[in-house]
Symmetry: C2
Subunit: 281 residues, 2 copies
């Protein structure tokens, strides 16, 4: 409620209050608000000041600070005592390890990704779905000099990546709804720009079991991805081969498509063997 206009919210129906990045559409619980602050951090801005976080997320400064304090109490953020900037906290490391113990996505993927990278000579990465966000969790870069570099933790827009397409194709209905409702990112001039086109590509991927993407994410990079399916049959992530476009032709795509599908199946099998069912004593 920064502007007087916001006061008359009811009269004009629903106002979009948050600026730029803070895209909280409907009512969020306090907890969701706090957690959404964590998404303000990324690789290029690992540390942020209070005002910056408040502005980006659209919350009041006092509110933002209180939320950050709560997050800090749990070790989810910490404040540099000198610069007063906030950054992600150490509790995340422990919880991520525990997550891996319960559902060893990275640990299972690692050898399979490494193998696939060695076989194909290309960079291979695995990404995981978290809500309506897809981001890379493990990468093995090609050994070749001319290769694609992918940073860990990169967010992959659904409409700009092969991984995104296959996740939509094999994800839940609610994921598709969420993704189709978002405005489509436009990272290159090859990025899928229309909803109709996106839906068509998703339907295609559902048929073939994999998807190819030609420079939709970055110019000169093409990739082929297959979904990783949980025991329930729904996609929990994707595995993708990313190559310089110069090395890719129709035959390569077919070969890589078969390879990612096989690798995805191996990962799914590894995840299928769940940890011990607990007694809940």
């Amino acid at each position: 409620m920064q502007t007087p206009t916001a006061r008359v919210k009811k009269q004009v129906g629903r106002l979009v209050e948050a600026s730029a990045a803070g895209a909280q559409s409907e009512a969020m619980s306090t907890v969701e608000k706090a957690l959404s602050l964590l998404d303000r951090f990324d690789r290029s801005t690992p540390e942020l000041g209070l005002s910056e976080i408040a502005k980006q997320s659209g919350f009041d400064k006092a509110t933002t600070r209180r939320l950050l304090l709560s997050l800090a109490a749990g070790g989810f953020v910490e404040q540099d005592s000198e610069s007063r900037l906030y950054r992600l906290g150490p509790s995340l490391l422990r919880l991520a390890r525990l997550r891996e113990a319960a559902f060893p996505f990275i640990d299972v993927s690692r050898p399979i990704v490494d193998d696939l990278s060695a076989e194909t000579g290309e960079t291979v990465h695995v990404s995981a779905l978290a809500g309506a966000t897809l981001s890379t969790i493990y990468v093995c870069e090609s050994a070749r000099a001319h290769r694609v570099a992918v940073a860990l933790g990169t967010r992959l827009p659904f409409n700009c990546t092969a991984s995104g397409i296959v996740c939509l194709a094999f994800g839940t209905e609610s994921l598709r709804r969420a993704a189709f409702a978002q405005p489509l990112a436009k990272l290159t001039r090859h990025s899928i720009a229309s909803l109709a086109e996106l839906k068509r590509r998703v339907a295609e991927a559902r048929q073939s079991g994999f998807a190819a993407n030609d420079q939709g994410f970055e110019d000169g990079v093409s990739s082929v991805a297959a979904p990783i399916l949980a025991a329930s049959g729904e996609a929990v992530g994707a595995i993708s081969i990313a190559s310089p476009t110069a090395r890719v032709d129709a035959k390569t795509i077919e070969r890589h498509g078969a390879a990612v599908r096989a690798a995805a199946a191996r990962i799914a099998a590894g995840l299928g063997a769940r940890p011990q069912r607990l007694k809940t004593a």
Copy 2:
């Protein structure tokens, strides 16, 4: 409030409502309550049902569920669609990666820990402070057959480990207050059992710059640890050599003490070089 006893709460003053693990001392914000639920998961119980989480944390079932829903919306927990059990969610992987990008504790420690393990022939682990919790974040096990195994993500009670002692010795005043207020864990008959003894050991460590622990965590395991100090001079974690007690004598302790101090300094140096100061444009 399942028991009739709880009904008469007011009459007996303040009851300790939460059972065993749910140790929320003072008033917690809603956000802190939600985050505290994540601590109900550990290596031995990676998945939990709603009622179990509610019981352990001392919150109402409806409240617990709403908090879990908020956490799930952010991908911090997820629910197995079949078993209905909750487990830690995939967002933690991404955020942990981002944390590492901002403050590369594990990445910096890895080679140093590996080297130290190779040099000493013993298991070496690094642990990180998150609030008043210390837990292992990286481990390199000894190559020898007779060795100490340490699981990643293990919580290290301050009074039972060398790492805990040095963290108290070089941590913040508030950390000491928090740790000294907690009841002391009793993992073996060697665990430090009195507050006076604990304080004495902490003072000693502050003098020598390292601490040794003889079977306080597990019988037959001795360890030597040094604190890892941030730019601010406060401990952010510790590095520790864990050996079978049979291989440890006074001379070994001195040697290992010097080794962990050197390794800790190298890690601190690696962390000192901070990521680019952002423009906050």
